[in-house]
Symmetry: C2
Subunit: 286 residues, 2 copies
Amino acid sequence: MPHPDESSIPALAIVGVGLIGGSIGLAAKKAGFARRVLGAGRQQKSLDDALAHGCIDEAFLDVKEAVRQANFVVFCTPVDRIIEQVVGLAPLCDSGTLFTDAGSTKSAIVAGIEGNLPPGVSFVGSHPLAGSEKRGPKFADGALFHERLTVVTPTPRTDPAAVEQVVAFWRRLGSRVRIMTPAEHDRALAMTSHLPHLLASALAGVLPESLRELTASGFRDTTRIASGEPELWTGIFLQNRPAVLEALDLLLVRLNAMRTAILAEDRTALDDLLTQAKRTRDALGS
Amino acid sequence: MPHPDESSIPALAIVGVGLIGGSIGLAAKKAGFARRVLGAGRQQKSLDDALAHGCIDEAFLDVKEAVRQANFVVFCTPVDRIIEQVVGLAPLCDSGTLFTDAGSTKSAIVAGIEGNLPPGVSFVGSHPLAGSEKRGPKFADGALFHERLTVVTPTPRTDPAAVEQVVAFWRRLGSRVRIMTPAEHDRALAMTSHLPHLLASALAGVLPESLRELTASGFRDTTRIASGEPELWTGIFLQNRPAVLEALDLLLVRLNAMRTAILAEDRTALDDLLTQAKRTRDALGS
């Protein structure tokens, strides 16, 4: 039988109760390992929605108060606010408090936090690969992390016991967990998440209004994520700048190869490029 | 009350009983205006599936025989085969037979057919903006055209009575209809359909196998259509070469603007680009 201290969290605080934060609350309450789930946010409306949807037990407009009462804190705020929040709030906490996040970039966040926390307070970077272009706790889903992957990004300086607890946390929400370095995470996600967003946005951006009626499911699928919040994505692109540019340049090489094949009416080259891409896409499943 | 000759088709032939052809058959049988639905194809398996799914009443491996018996023929074959098929088969038909197609490009097809048909046989180009990356009559859906748009592309040389009948045909399948010139269609679809396919394929094509596990719904949505059949898309890209290249070059300008904003850490420019694209995407609905 697991020790109670290992198997339950007296007070879990979620800072930022949007779709991800709300889903963490729902999943934690369903799994039953958090005795209290505290939600902190800047908008009363989001907190009210999160309470109404059963994502959290208690709502706090004062994030300091929520964090002060918590043993485990998850930051689900925009990536460019996480460093400041964690470093600013950590001194208010009891020794033994554990911090993690759900940000889509990791190198800048981990580097900005490690070494800047008081003794006894730990931070471990996390990124659950789940989400949606939708926004707000009313779209929260207690099964959002089920069978999905969460990347946890310790460094040689991260407390191994804290890493274990954070890994266990995501597993209890139903997620699989993979350990990567922050830099590995950022290069991988530049390709699998940030580049798709860039492309979807570019494509939506060049559609003239007169052609909207002529779009079908292909255009809609390909551009769906362009509905994500611009300020969140500006933060992600800028925090992961080198890896995003590297991924974009790789894509531009490929687009140029396709362009050249079309221009030269090179049926074989074009067919080869399309066939290899189809093979990769088919392997991902629906 | 409509004249029986106007409101029913004694024998409708569908050449190519894949997802589109099969869906046309199902929709026509549901609407009840075709007394017989004949399906022609080169693969016995597809014909068997189409019969089993109720898409067609009779199956023909010999396309000539199906077309000879038909009053109205829809070609749902790859774009680079339609000209040859229509021009080759038209001399077998009775005067008054009407041909249309469902191809994703129109200029080359219409130009290759008009002027090359025997007297009394008409062709009107069509393109129903519906479909899927899936393939085969087992995915056919009698409601596929419901509330969707079909573009019909007459030219000054097209018989106006034939245009009316083709427009009525698509409407009876549940589709809205818009008349455009072949060139207008091709420029529009280069942007709304061919360019998304090019991008989805390029993105799927640069994903290394080691990163497949790190993809989530964003990557999957953005690349979904890359599962389309390469040979179909090679034909489309080459038949609509100038318009596809023009659309791609527009996109490259936009991607380059995003690249420059990221490189320069120009938060305002990046946010403006993302915001304008989000507005467009939000306007399309889900």
